[in-house]
Amino acid sequence: MPLPAALRLLLTVLSIVTGGAGAAFPAAAETLRASLSDDLTTIDPFAFPGLVSSGVLRQVYEGFTAIDAVGNAVPALATRWETPDGGRTWRFTLRPDVRFHSGRPFTAADVLWTWENHLTRKPQPGYSAFYLRGIEGAAALQQGTVASLPGVAIPDPHTLIVRLTEPDALFPLYPFLFVDRGMEAEFGPAWHERASGGTGPFRLTSWRRGESVRLDAHAAYWGGAPAVDAVSLAVLPDTNTLLARYDAGELDVAPLPDNAVRTVVRQPRYDGQVMAFARAQVRYLALNQDLYPPFRDRRVREAFHYAVDRVATVNGLHAGRALLTNGFVTPGLGGYQPDAVPLTPTDPKRARALLAEAGHAGGRGLPPLQIAGGPNVREEATYFAAQLTAVLGIPVSVRIQERAAFVAAINEGHEALFINGWTADFPDPMDQLATQWHSASPTNRSRWHSPDFDRLMERARGLADPAARNALYRDAEALLRDQAVALPLPVPQFVALVRPGVTGLVIRPDGTTDYHAARLP
């Protein structure tokens, strides 16, 4: 056993014997103690970070823009971004007073270095290579035929001009994480294991796998030093453990998993400690027309819309911490249109009439169905299945699978009727519309195809003016609604228990918690 492991054994035994097991969660006066629902998969800002990792890395690294509390793109490391030609060329003005955690100044050369590193990394390119593929010369750089990225010009240290091969209005919104180009020279290729290389409000100072992450405040942060000295994040996937730790006063913030919200918020002992935030997520009951031919008839799809009572689930299943929408763009995103079209009311009579019109009176001739979903939608799926069976006369049952198995099944198009969701990666409705419904999208899990819809998405991508884009998004949503492609479902909010006196905490619509303005009592 290597010495550190032996030492750790000794420490574990000592902490058990002395009862000092809280040692893993140091409760220094100004350390905010919160939790993570799962372990990080990496702290390398170039690797594909996954949901939990990116939530942590966004405290440490920043891009051109950030998402504010209501889902709009706001300036982060860029103060301005302009395009003279409808999104083909982008000119970024970088914030002049930004310093990395190392103390080095942030400049356009760091942006270029980050991008080139993403494109040329071996054995795999970095995750941003996907967003960089439109830059002139990106492919040539990846193939090694050029030595630098020709589509990027740096006229001065705080200006960056990017030329794309095709207009892309969303380029400034992509989730980039810019890295200090001095890190590799100073600490070697595995620098991220030893030092923090971002500009964000927190430095990543330790990651104990499966156990905890520690973030220390970056005093020279351009947006002002965080109010707390540090944030300690305990990895607590189990809800009971999470609540026990919170109840014992060992956590200041406990973000709740969706399926725990209903029981937790109804307990009087948590009165005044429940905070809810909008989530940029679209949710729907998906109808796969390829797999279940009756869904090709719009009347059958509409009958499903009229058969279920979605309003009842807001209070009944989500304890009021959910927003009812009738669209395919969600609250928490610019471009969301509240009350654009009223929700289809529950109308069992009309549902039965539509089904009869389609030649399936009383469900006759319709093969049995199952509502598939992950473990967190068990109750919702059961409720909808019961309603569909009662109203339409089709035998509908429920199939709940472990999350990985469910995601694999819908990715392969093996489910006919399932509850799906999509949380935005960047603050634009394109991320929810094109990913779910464009016929070329690898995540179009209901396999719905419409050339008209595809054209709307492709036109929107070339429109730099958000208002003009939003007009196309509205047309696209109207098309989806008109075709009754799926049943929009209430979107749960992010809910967290927050210890009384802790203020300033924000969970952004993309799910990352903003600890910058958080204050302890």
């Binding site: 056993m1 290597p2 492991a5 032996a6 750790r8 054994l9 574990t12 035994v13 902490s15 058990i16 014997v17 009862g19 097991a21 809280g22 372990d39 998969t41 990496t42 390398d44 690797a47 594909f48 996954g50 949901l51 054995p123 795999q124 390119p125 995750y127 290579a129 996907f130 593929r133 104990r208 796998r209 499966g210 156990e211 305990a234 990895v235 607590l236 996937p237 189990d238 009971n240 453990t241 026990a244 730790r245 109840d247 014992a248 060992e250 699978q401 472990e402 999350r403 990985a404 198995a405 995601v407 694999a408 099944a409 990715n411 999509w422 949380t423 990666d425 991320d431 690898p442 995540t443």
Partner: protein, 304 residues
């Protein structure tokens, strides 16, 4: 013991390969779990899958894993992007061993004392109460017990030790009671009592030493049970030991880690069995060559 080792190693190999195949047969893979359906370059995902060897047929993956294992190469974690499995095990093992050591330190003295007391007071109500109490402690599923203790004690490590130690102490107490009662019924005890020796002296000087050999054999299997319970306890208490590592590796489809963690479990179990046999062999030379049978199968040792 010499004949037993190859059999145990074969058992270990079979267990780890079965675990590898079992986690491989599940739908979903670590890459799609990491990506979690978010926008990512499909090409990048394909390359990550290739790098992890997940595009190969199951038989090829299985053979390559088995060959690596035979060479002593435990491979790299799929979930943690190339971190050596040995590093993850090196972090987790001390936590589990610490828990086990803590549980043993609590369960052995408590279990022995309670067992002796129950044997001595077998005809009085405290003896009956102790017996009923130990049956109750053994009847509660370890997961439920761990969850109750976690909720009661805010999830700190001393309570995790208690969750492991309580059923173990109950098991030891019951075994001690049975063994000591058996010894107490023998002639040499009556002789000792007739000579006017006190109750406590009879128990400690005559009954206990004669019960120890079969007890040691039984404690080996108690330790095995405690070992498997650590997975539940570590998960409930969020302690980063081998048990939790195994559960999380299976959930994350991290096949290499899951296989290696199961191997560690099997090796720990084998080590516990061998140590128990070794100790018994040292204590009772007659048992050195032909192994030890279950507790209670012998007990005809002469008085010292």
């Amino acid at each position: 013991m010499g004949r037993r080792l190859p059999r145990l190693l074969l058992l270990a190999g079979t267990a780890v390969l079965a675990s590898f195949l079992a986690s491989h047969a599940l739908p979903g893979d670590p890459i799609s779990l990491m990506v979690d359906g978010r926008t990512a370059d499909p090409d990048l995902i394909r390359r990550m899958r290739e790098d992890a060897g997940l595009d190969q047929p199951l038989t090829v993956q299985f053979l390559s894993y088995a060959l690596d294992l035979l060479r002593g190469d435990l491979g790299q974690s799929l979930r943690y992007g190339g971190v050596p499995v040995t590093a993850l095990l090196g972090d987790a093992l001390p936590v589990t061993l610490g828990l086990l050591a803590g549980a043993a330190a609590l369960a052995l003295p408590f279990g022995l004392t309670l067992g002796l007391a129950a044997a001595d007071l077998r005809r009085a109500w405290p003896g009956t109460a102790l017996t009923i109490g130990s049956v109750l402690a053994l009847s509660v599923p370890p997961l439920a017990l761990a969850t109750w203790l976690m909720l009661a004690g805010s999830g700190t490590a001393p309570w995790a030790v208690a969750a492991l130690a309580l059923p173990a102490a109950a098991m030891i107490a019951r075994l001690t009671r049975t063994q000591v009662m058996e010894v107490l019924g023998r002639d040499f005890i009556r002789t000792a009592q007739a000579k006017g020796l006190g109750r406590v002296a009879v128990l400690l000087r005559h009954a206990l030493p004669n019960a120890l050999v079969p007890l040691a054999a039984a404690v080996g299997s108690v330790a095995g049970t405690v070992l498997t319970t650590t997975a539940a306890v570590e998960t409930v208490f969020a302690l980063p030991g081998i048990g939790r590592l195994t559960v999380q590796a299976v959930l994350a489809r991290d096949h290499t880690v899951a296989g290696a963690a199961v191997l560690v479990f099997v090796l720990l179990q084998v080590a516990i069995s061998l140590t128990a046999e070794l100790l018994i062999g040292l204590a009772d030379p007659r048992l050195r060559d032909d192994g030890v049978h279950g507790a209670g199968a012998h007990g005809d040792g002469e008085p010292p």
